[in-house]
Amino acid sequence: MKPEMGVKGMEMEGGGEAIDPSFSELVAQESGENLLACYQCQKCSAGCPVAYTMDVLPNQVIRMVQFGLREKVLSSHTIWICASCYTCSVRCPNDIDIAKVMDVLRHIALGSGIKPAERDIPIFHSVFLDSIKSKGRIHELGLIWQYKAKTRDFMKDAALGWKMFRKGKIKLFPSKFGGGREIKGIFSRYEKGK
């Protein structure tokens, strides 16, 4: 299924990037994971359902973090493509929660100024959170419109959307409920802390 993996798995290019030891410390601290325990068995990459479309395999990400290759890691497609399925985390013989490490790398990437390799995924997350902030709950139709407005891809899934509408799966208007003020409070604390 993944014929290229055995070969790709062994490659490791620093690409001349300066090593940043504080980066490995930061990832270890934020994730609470002992990344030095990784001995490159590659079990995480072997079980990863999306490894086939990653530019850097999960085991390579861990290695690059150990080496402090900040820019290489943060500019990878991999950190955005990870679907958080936790297959790697449960199979790691050294108990490294790799999915959690990917979360931490996404957090660091968002504040790094490095352009995300996947354009749409961070846009989706930001629209999703804006939607919670303004309405308290996700109103799927509103979310999709906002996402389309940002990505300028209005025709994608239009036919499917119509079919779903006819099946009663599309809610036209957001629910009315309280709790909005509390949600705004949570967001303003988080935005101030940034």
Binding site: P49, V50, Y52, T53, I81, A83, S84, C85, Y86, T87, S89, V90, D97, A99, D103, V104, R106, H107, L110, E118, D120, I121, I123, F124, H125, S126, F128, L129, I132, G136, R137, I138, H139, E140, L141, I144, Y147, K156, D157, L160, K163, M164, K167, G168, K169, I170, K171, S175, F177, G178, G179, E182, I183, I186, F187, R189, Y190, G193
Partner: protein, 284 residues
Amino acid sequence: MKELSYYPGCSLEGTAREYDESIRAVCEMLGVTLHELEDWTCCGASSAHCTDENLAIELATRNLALAEKGGRELLVPCVACYSRFKVAEKEVREHPERWETPYQGKVQIRYALDFFCEDSLLEAVGEKVVVPLSGLKVACYYGCLSVRPPGITGVGSYEDPQHMDRLMSTLGAEPLPWSYKTDCCGASLVMTRTDIVRKLSHLLLEMAREAEADCLVTGCTMCQANLDTRQEEISKEFGQKYDLPIFYFTELMGLAMGHRDVKKWFGRHLTDPTRLLNSKGLMG
């Protein structure tokens, strides 16, 4: 008579409406009263934990605090919400000093599938079966977060879970052994990298077909949506025609227990299950 608090979650108001309808219906039939949390808000889902873990925990604990005030166990049908709640529970229990929240980590959080697969409930379900799902070959599809990570879900056999299989046997259906019970469908990448979701969902459909399943059963709103709504696209892309209905386990419970609304729920599916169920003589 059992009473629980109920947190439907956002998708159950939209794309997963039939999950909400069927869960309320089977609870009523089993004498389980649900009290929907007033003013519940989004759990933060995958976008919050991909952006800021603290925000993710706070969005979850707001709802858990509401539930704790109610003093009842909390029933959560969406596995993504469940996972976020359990992560927040663990965090608040282990580091209470970090969080300014009335939530104390005390409310029992129950994922709907786990709840209905408990021995006492299974027995009650068995007694209510009036239309045994004889001859219906089902591939139980647990997906990711209902079983992983076990430190959060508490599921021991997370590589080959059996609880949904037991529930399906109780309903008279035939759960099949297959190897993709806990593989990922691509989940929320559906909006952004639809190509990944089509590829992973194709693999799941193909493996279920190879196992000679009539349909798949799930308790995850993202799995159901990804597998149900894109079979036409997947059939075109991969050159293999798929027509495999994707049920919520609660819909099959309702069918076996003879609930009057099953046609309404099944009418919301894009991969229409009517022909399959008629061919098995299961639709009145």
